[in-house]
Subunit: 343 residues, 2 copies
Amino acid sequence: MGKKKNVTFDDIAKYTHFSKTTISRYFNHPDSLTLENQEIISKALTELNYQENKVAKILANGKTEFIGVIIPTFYHHYYAEILNQILSTYEDFGYKFLVFVGNEQEDTERRYIKELLAYHIEGMLILSHTIPSRELAQLQVPIVTIEREDQYVCSVNTDNYMGAIQACSLLARHQCDILLHINSPTDPSVPAYGRAQGFLDFCKEHQLEHRMYIQELGFTHETVKSHLAEILEDIERTYSGRKKGIFVSNDTHANVLLNLLIRKYGTLPDDYYLVGFDNSPASQEAVLPISTIGQQMDKLAYEAVSLLVDQMNERKKRKPVPLAEPIHKVITPILFRRETTEK
Amino acid sequence: MGKKKNVTFDDIAKYTHFSKTTISRYFNHPDSLTLENQEIISKALTELNYQENKVAKILANGKTEFIGVIIPTFYHHYYAEILNQILSTYEDFGYKFLVFVGNEQEDTERRYIKELLAYHIEGMLILSHTIPSRELAQLQVPIVTIEREDQYVCSVNTDNYMGAIQACSLLARHQCDILLHINSPTDPSVPAYGRAQGFLDFCKEHQLEHRMYIQELGFTHETVKSHLAEILEDIERTYSGRKKGIFVSNDTHANVLLNLLIRKYGTLPDDYYLVGFDNSPASQEAVLPISTIGQQMDKLAYEAVSLLVDQMNERKKRKPVPLAEPIHKVITPILFRRETTEK
């Protein structure tokens, strides 16, 4: 790293013939200077090679260009992909990401967040579910959540309800006799609840026979597999000989269910239609590519970082105007028809 | 975040009745104080709530507790899992991780590393392949690489050669008539080269008929699938009626090959034996769980962070002793026998 001499406010003041107070105002409240003076100082910083010492910059204005990211788990391939997209926004915004995987450990997450705040991170993207948004809102740092409970904080979510309607419409168009939905118990405050609600509303509105399998499936492949095997056994027994349209609440689980069927029959039987959710890599890499409701992960990530950066920039103004209400952006999902429905 | 008043060296000096110079020495060269005095200052810091302001700490001693991580891509599930394990070491070491995904963009990686250094990160874990270790070694920051070319820097790698021997032994024990190896062109300086070398040496030593399919398979699921479909066609044509033992260089590709076979035959035919590499989630979640040479990802991650922290701590000493030679740790792989060989 080498111990380069820091460029001080003194150095900049001497170089530009401004007072130290003016230099300080440039860093803390640039809006209070004329554009012309801002440019003179900005040019001087480049010439003095000031950019190179970010620690000095943190000192000067408390801004680190760090964003904290909290991922709940990597079991769902969805999270690796959305993290990938978040990290890729470095090219657009220049922010660096301090990443943490919570693994549902609420206390560890709290401790980690506290640490991040001590480092003067500028904002946080929260994907984990453990800490209520009411508590997050009190942290005094801009926060944007993605696909989790978000009443008191800004968020970017997929239109899950619309996605469920798309999935059910597709299954209904294939004249399935019975529509089934497999999901974990989800609180109505969580965006993904729209997947179950949309399923129910669609089936009721179109008077379609339907059934929901709502149960905790677990967080490891083995437990998910054994729970889905039980559900599949029940489906086989109860709906034998009928055309079944199954909407699974995520691709990772849809893939497990598909594999159970393939192992039993060598192929997806004619009386099974299957739609997942997420368009995660699991859906494309499955033995039969799985039809799915695609979350636009690049857009979700871009919009989330963009919304966060807006808030972070507002706080850098001389007189920041706090948001009156949290902003909730909604991204439209996209239906991908693949081999589990188009046969 | 709130603008808390920073606790200054002055405050600590007054509180402890030490001189400011002593306080400064505590942060920069703690070894130069007696243990007793270290404890007095350490206690004062807690009482003054000094810990809370890490930015002040960075200022004081230039140590950020940040480690930069560069991941090449998330296409191979291996990288999501190893990142997961790296992030989980937060619990053991307390270091925070600035994560970047390079996507084979050498220039972006260089730019990102330059930025990280400007932030006074304490060390870097490099998993991407773009920048030669000779260049990395000149960066003047502790570096540990995982599973990439590592001549001039410290590294932690799986014993790839041993893994290949394990895979071939298993296939040989099943009396395969022909041993096949599918891999991408790999430079001998990359640890994964041991997979091909081990295959060759084992087959020659045991005078087993063998063939290597070495070609670039691509970085998206679609290109990998179409290349593997061509290879499979050649295998079917050339080795029809013979018992084939296929050692694929990673689980992601082994899974694609397995799915091609399952789609064609409804099951894995009796004359195919398949072993992958990595024990990545793809191998467990496959339609038939895939036998694989398991990289001990938790150990790889732990040892890599541990080796890095050792170097980082050395640099904090008053008279750091640089390593005479880079340290290369090797982790033994573990054979997992699953359904693609045990039938």
